[in-house]
Symmetry: C2
Subunit: 386 residues, 2 copies
């Protein structure tokens, strides 16, 4: 068995296969950098997002509805008080957390979550709040966004500030079924927030130059639409491009670059098929007025956190995009040239479902893993070797 496997697995993958438990201390080899997987903190329940504060604290959301603090390499036992109630079932929960660009002076953090709204059904909707993080507690300031959406899962929920202080965030299609008249699917309808990237000011107000601001019947917060369930969102460090990964159907997880007013085609066009039975969803992969993905995964990896690398610990990886995968249990490194993905390398695999990938202020790459039965450390970082 061992021999059959070694025929076609290489590098980082092999290390994972042959050291399923002790892998943290092993060197993983990739094309440009070798690294170790080093534990950061453990004891989380489905950590969803990682945020770094200037004083060295690390905030971690747990899907179940808790915000946690990692301080000096330890997970503090008490969750941060002041977090509102979330829909903690299915795909719902506490999701992304990002500090305001001026956090050092205003102590503001932004949190996305599935908000209970009994009038919208048990699954509620996607909402974003802001508040101050002081003395290890969260004090709500206000809600800056609440999606006009209803349905099941597919909340989206990633948050990203660009260099000009605009807040981008994602909302999924809420699992609206891709059947019947596909052009009438909620993700193709601008009068709601199903399957969109949103762009707002940090106080929740709508920028005047948003593409649909002032258009009758359209939600003015929408920046782009026709998405399925974007759960990775990252701003390109050089040109400010809004990059996202979205869960597609089977064989259809996509990388897109979101531009003002663009329609990304879900569910009218696409490359994937239904998870059950492999039946067809789309009539076409292309249509006039609908954007093509920059890249997509076959098979789908179940995309999660997304980050551009800008640090100095892995110089050959600067400018690369790192994408997490749930089902794939992987972190993929994507090489971007002129707005295209020209190569993809799986640098980490087999340590558990990956929920988030971030660059730390120290230049290490942090990965949030879902805890497995063996109690393996769920937040790790990659440190270069040699």
């Amino acid at each position: 068995m061992t021999r059959a496997v070694s025929f076609f697995l290489s590098g980082a993958v092999l290390a994972a296969v042959f050291s399923p438990v002790s892998a943290q201390s092993d060197v993983r080899r990739t094309a440009h950098h070798d690294f170790r997987v080093v534990p950061v903190a453990e004891g989380f329940e489905v950590p969803w997002s990682i945020a770094f504060l200037p004083d060295g604290d690390i905030l971690v959301t747990e899907r179940a509805g808790r915000l946690r603090i990692v301080r000096d390499g330890k997970l503090l036992p008490d969750p941060v008080p002041g977090i509102p109630e979330v829909v903690a079932r299915g795909q719902g929960g506490l999701m992304d957390v990002v500090p305001h660009p001026d956090f050092a002076s205003n102590r503001m953090i932004y949190i996305s979550y599935s908000k209970p709204r009994e009038d919208l059904g048990r699954a509620g909707t996607t909402a974003v709040i802001r508040g101050t993080f002081e003395n290890d507690g969260f004090t709500l300031v206000d809600e800056v966004f609440e999606a006009v959406s209803r349905g099941g899962g597919h909340y989206g929920c990633r948050l990203a500030f660009d260099a000009d202080g605009y807040l981008y965030l994602s909302v999924g299609d809420r699992m609206a079924s891709p059947t019947g008249d596909l052009a009438a699917h909620p993700a193709q309808d601008l009068s709601n927030h199903h399957g969109v990237i949103v762009r707002i000011h940090d106080d929740g107000s709508v920028p005047e130059d948003n593409p649909f601001a002032g258009r009758a019947g359209a939600m003015p917060e929408i920046w782009s639409y026709g998405h399925r369930n974007p759960q990775g969102l990252a701003i390109h460090p050089d040109d400010g491009g809004v990059w996202l990964t979205e869960h597609g159907p089977r064989g259809g997880d996509e990388v897109n670059v979101s531009t003002a007013g663009a329609n990304y085609g879900w569910p009218v066009i696409g490359y994937g098929v239904n998870y059950r039975g492999g039946t067809k969803i789309h009539d076409a992969t292309h249509a006039e007025g609908m954007e093509q993905p920059v890249h997509f995964w076959v098979p789908s990896i179940g995309v999660s956190g997304l980050a551009f690398y800008t640090g100095d610990k892995f110089p050959e990886w600067r400018g690369n995009l790192f994408a997490g995968g749930l089902a794939g249990q992987n972190v993929d490194r994507l090489t971007i040239e002129d707005g295209r993905v020209v190569a993809r390398e799986t640098i980490l695999q087999g340590m558990g479902r990956v929920r988030d990938v971030r660059e730390g202020p120290d230049g290490y790459i942090y990965v949030a893993l879902e805890a497995r039965g063996d109690g393996q450390t769920p937040i790790v970082r990659l440190e270069p070797v040699g």
Copy 2:
């Protein structure tokens, strides 16, 4: 062990792992088509290329210097007589075979090989001959190309006719060392055929509109240059684009689209590192006047045969590009959109080193594998299931 593996391997790969010997009869699942791997013929010694003749015969080159015939599902015991002596050591040997577009009337086939030339060192050079294939024998007509090159391996050697009857072929960089003044490397020098795509008429004469025809000091056959070792070559069925895969260094196997007069940068620019020690080759990934790859593999797969699929047995794969891999032991399916590779799926893996991938006239996909110790059938075809 089994469980650890199943965490991150899916579909076709799993089938290969768990049925290393009997895999031919198992169904392999991919995003769009399920298929079986069906034996075509066995008993080859490193089959390098597959060609289909209108009467149903299949020609297969063996690297050792033999041209073989598969007729009615059987490998005929006698090699085709009339094949010239080849350099049958190292990377050298009998390589590609393609029928002339008018084979049905002229019975002409083209063969590329490493040609012994003691004055050029033991490894000789890359040459292409044409001759008639009749009564199961080859009769040489003439040599249509002989590369001005010397060195070790990296012969290149793929052949492809386009719809207008031009013959494209590849020559590698002959392993000239990428050290010292990289801009002075033979692959950057138009006065030889190291690292080029060549374009000639079917009789070996040079088309007047070749990009360097008439330029003093330049080889007029050159269509594009700055390649390393292109061993996959295929003409796009719709637009006639000249697609190639080339062996790069570690983490640098590339897909390129060869255009008239373009410089693909080897060894001045690139994405890979040296196989030994991972040391740096290139100072940059970009340079003015040098082309970027359309796609590259990290890690490198050791690219081999290349084919666009146009058949009706796998309708969802029409227009896709299929690339073989030696070290990767894989066949990858590449989805092309607007001249870009937007997705890549490994559809076959773990059955042995893949030397060639071709579409048969029956619409099945044929794969030449290097025979392994267990005597497994080295030429197989993929047949859809369900």
